[in-house]
């Protein structure tokens, strides 16, 4: 159970006490689990029209996403047309005290009590369903403005809003409270990605101009080349298998075990820390795996000659047809 701030609880209790016509203290006691359930002494007075809170995520993609922005950005980020029509009885979101509006906007829970509005009007930052924010287990309250203009000359201290309920926040997404030091995807991330795309395309083109793909003689079932090697990414495996009786350790077994084993890593490694200093053993294991597979692959590629016997590339030549036409100076 999330900690509900005292003042929210009190406001809620006041509202309920008013509605039920009982003393506030009774309701408060009930809320805190110290008192008996409060009897309803009179039927609920005419209920306020309250718009249903939109279920989180159902139409969050409909409204343009405006990611929660640090406070100084908020004003910018809310498009002007987002202003809620004054007479619309839209539910409004109020974050719990201590949460600034930007923090409330970040949080999933806030979305649980999100305002529904005209479909096209971009929602205030709070309604962004796909933001991944902090605030798991925080409390959001739903407040309804009175539907009509408050009568003139309200006595001092009378609020024109009232607290309907305190809802416990529950996220449907797997979010964790994280400090969010964020930057805009455009341009920061997208320029990087564009650079990466250009770089890899350039590298590939240059490589393809320089290195020629092999095309040996036509396939011939009667002429087994010596040695016969698997593609390089299976060569480590082929190398490994050459140490064992193939009847015992077929390729399917290591592949299958490798695949299932790798999939189980997150469920085996229960250590919650991601700090390298806390996971020396895991890092060591993986590094052994990396170094081992690299070594086996290099041996398979460079150090295996006729009959898959040991060969030194500088003495016996390289038996690796994939790079047969290393350089193409046409």
């Amino acid at each position: 159970m999330a900690e509900i701030p005292e003042d929210l609880l009190r406001r809620s209790a006041e509202a309920r006490a008013k509605a039920l016509g009982v003393p506030v203290e009774d309701v408060l006691a009930e809320f805190k689990g110290e008192g008996p359930p409060v009897e309803i002494s009179q039927p609920d007075p005419e209920p306020e029209p309250v718009q249903e809170a939109a279920p989180e995520g159902s139409d969050s993609e409909e409204t343009p996403e405006v990611e929660a922005t640090p406070a100084e950005d908020v004003a910018e980020a809310i498009p002007a047309e987002a202003e809620i029509p004054e007479e619309s009885p839209a539910a409004m979101v109020a974050a719990s005290p201590g949460e600034t509006s930007s923090a409330g906007a970040e949080s999933e829970p806030a979305a649980a009590a999100v305002a529904t509005e005209a479909p096209e009007a971009p929602a205030p930052p709070g309604s962004n369903g796909s933001s991944n924010g902090s605030g798991n287990g925080k409390v959001a309250s739903v407040v309804s403005p009175r539907p009509s203009v408050p009568p003139a000359g309200l006595p001092e201290g009378v609020r024109t809003q009232r607290l309907l309920t305190v809802v416990k926040a529950r996220a449907i997404q797997n979010v964790k409270a994280e400090p969010s030091d964020k930057v805009n995807t455009w341009p920061h991330l997208m320029l990087m990605e564009f650079g990466a795309l250009l770089a890899i395309t350039g590298l590939l083109v240059v490589m393809s101009v320089i290195i020629h793909s092999p095309l040996l003689e036509p396939a011939n079932f009667n002429a087994t080349p010596n040695p016969s090697k698997a593609p390089w990414y299976f060569l480590g495996l082929q190398e490994l298998l050459s140490y064992f009786d193939p009847q015992i350790a077929g390729v399917m077994v290591p592949l299958f075990i490798g695949m299932i084993g790798f999939m189980m890593i997150p469920y085996i490694d229960k250590n919650p820390s991601t700090r390298p200093s806390d996971r020396k053993f895991a890092i060591m294991l993986y590094s052994v795996f990396l170094a081992g597979s690299a070594t086996l692959t290099i041996i398979g590629v460079l150090f295996r000659g006729r009959g898959f016997n040991w060969a030194y590339p500088w003495r016996d030549g390289v038996f690796f047809d994939d790079l047969k036409d290393w350089v193409n100076f046409e």
Binding site: E65, M190, I200, V253, P266
Partner: protein, 258 residues
């Protein structure tokens, strides 16, 4: 601008026409409200959001990302590079499909003709081949990056599982393509690979038979590998990639900082 004859100049008319088109219902309906193309772009947080929101591809991204995730040194862009390489492979692969027949009689001569008779044929073939090797490498390195960051820890466990499937799909894609040139290298590399599969106890022979569509590599194997390579595996890997990217976002974006 009237040109003295009282007629409307050509430039004037073109401008009028484009303006009309630009403001037409058609143009209006193509661009979503707020599109920077429509309303012009000036640098503001709001427009930065609109750039991402108004494009189906960019929309794979959230509007904002963690600052440390943008640093090159964090992901080395390896997942992204795997994806880019996949796109490049798709494009070059479609090109190659126009010139390739998956039969034992024609496959090899098609490959020869491709490198001699087709404009850019050789270059595109090289790009496809080296791109495939690079993709295997970059997926593997991406996996290592994820491991060293401990980025598979909750809540990202399942995305790691999806990733392992992606790794194996990448290997299968590469392996099934290896046979297609139908030269000695292709034939015997695949023979060795499937023989290794055949060595498995109990199910070995069945696995090998299903893989090769027979007891040894034949024209039927070629067709089988071709369909797997150009259709089945790409189809499956795209689905898994979609889940993978979606989970990256839903699991709270990029992991870290360390």
């Amino acid at each position: 601008m009237a040109n003295g004859n009282g007629r409307v100049g050509l430039r004037e008319r073109i401008k009028e026409g484009t303006d009309k088109l630009w403001n037409s219902q058609l143009a209006d309906s193509i661009m979503r409200p707020g599109s920077p193309f429509k309303q012009g772009y000036s640098d503001s947080p709001r427009n930065r959001s609109y750039v991402v929101m108004n494009n189906v591809l960019y929309h794979l991204h959230p509007v904002k990302v963690k600052r440390h995730g943008v640093k090159l040194s964090y992901t080395l862009c390896l997942g992204g590079l795997s994806f880019f390489l996949f796109i490049l492979l798709t494009i070059t692969g479609i090109f190659l499909m126009f010139y390739y027949t998956p039969t034992a009689e024609l496959a090899y001569s098609d490959m020869e003709a491709l490198s001699t008779n087709v404009a850019f044929g050789s270059l595109v073939r090289n790009m496809h081949r080296w791109g495939a090797h690079l993709m295997v490498l970059s997926v593997f390195l991406h996996m290592s990056r994820v491991f060293y960051h401990g980025a598979y820890k909750p809540p990202r466990e399942f995305n790691w599982v999806v990733g392992v499937v992606l790794l194996f799909l990448t290997l299968f894609l590469s392996f099934s393509g290896y046979l297609l040139p139908w030269d000695q290298l292709a034939l015997w590399a695949v023979t060795v690979g499937s023989n290794m599969a055949g060595f498995s106890p109990v199910i070995g022979d069945q696995v090998k038979f299903a893989l090769l569509a027979g007891v040894e590599v034949t024209g039927a194997t070629l067709l089988r590998f071709y369909v797997l390579h150009v259709l089945a595996f790409p189809f499956i890997i795209v689905i898994f990639m979609a889940v993978h990217f979606w989970r990256v976002r839903k699991d709270g974006g990029i992991s870290g900082p360390l």
